[in-house]
């Protein structure tokens, strides 16, 4: 079984070599002329007045939290989908029951404005 993963290992290594090599070459041949203005973060010509290291809208968190929850939901779907035909009606029923609370959760989130941007 594990033999199947050789390709993955290879491509990971190759991928790193490619990406790393490109960066490396660039570092080698790229010019280097630094001065203060160039090093400043780009703010359309203004000097930076607000640090980006601050709190952002809560929506982002809501999305991330929702994502985590629904990602878990999704991983329960994958193996189920793959064996669905073997499970038959029973499997469909089980998954239906599984989905109800999540659907309720989604509707709830939706209606409560948790999905509004």
């Amino acid at each position: 079984m594990l033999a199947e993963y050789t390709g993955v290992l290879v491509i990971l290594v190759v991928g790193m070599v490619i990406a790393g090599g490109m960066l490396g070459i660039h570092l080698l041949i790229g010019p280097r002329r630094r001065f203060a203005e160039k090093q400043q973060p780009f703010e359309c010509g203004e000097t930076q007045i607000v640090s980006p290291r601050r709190r952002y809208a809560v929506k982002f968190y809501m999305v991330a939290i929702l994502f985590v929850v629904f990602d878990v939901e999704a991983i329960f779907f994958y193996p189920w989908g793959a064996v669905f035909q073997e499970l038959g009606w029973f499997g469909l029923g089980a998954m239906f029951v599984f989905t109800i609370p999540l659907a309720v959760g989604l509707i709830y989130e939706w209606m409560k404005g948790g999905l509004e941007w």
Partner: protein
């Protein structure tokens, strides 16, 4: 030593190092989170080596891809990138926890040394072990109750997160 064993040690060491990096890096929380990603991915690789295929991919998807992302979000968005907090009180309690933790570790390691688990180690696992097919079939027959319960748990998480995090609840 087989290739698998070598890979196991590589990933094991990677996991430990990155875990230590996560815990010990007190200057940069984002880096801590990224270290955690490395740990998670290494663990995923070890799961693969242990022929827990579905678990491995789910580990990477959920732990590596979702949970730590959430951490990272919070770290970045709340600007918790550095945390040079003043040294804390309660040294004793913490020391106690540390000692107990290390003691348990030692205990387990010694126990492992004394009573090797090798006795029952099977050379090969049954056909299809750890794949999505076997796991899927068991999950939705033998363990179907747990699956339903997980969905309740997720419902609770959704509701709870919304209640707590949303600025205004109507």
């Amino acid at each position: 030593m087989t290739v698998e064993a070598i890979l196991f040690y590589v990933f094991g060491i990677l996991a430990v190092v990155s875990a230590l990096g996560m815990v010990l890096n007190i200057r940069n929380t984002v880096a801590s989170a990224m270290s955690l990603v490395v740990t998670m991915v290494s663990l995923g690789a070890i799961y693969l080596l242990l022929e827990a295929y579905l678990v491995a991919v789910i580990q990477i998807m959920v732990y590596g891809g979702a949970i730590v992302v959430l951490f990272l979000f919070v770290v970045m968005l709340l600007n918790l990138s550095t945390d040079e907090f003043p040294p804390g009180k309660q040294r004793v309690a913490k020391l106690a926890v540390v000692i107990v933790g290390v003691a348990i570790l030692a205990q387990v390691l010694v126990a492992l040394g004394q009573a090797p688990l090798l006795v029952a180690q099977p050379e090969a696992v049954p056909e299809g072990f750890g794949g999505y097919r076997q796991l899927g079939l068991s999950l939705y027959t033998d363990y179907v109750l747990l699956v339903e319960m997980v969905s309740l748990l997720l419902l609770a998480a959704i509701v709870g997160a919304l209640i707590l995090a949303k600025r205004k609840i109507d």
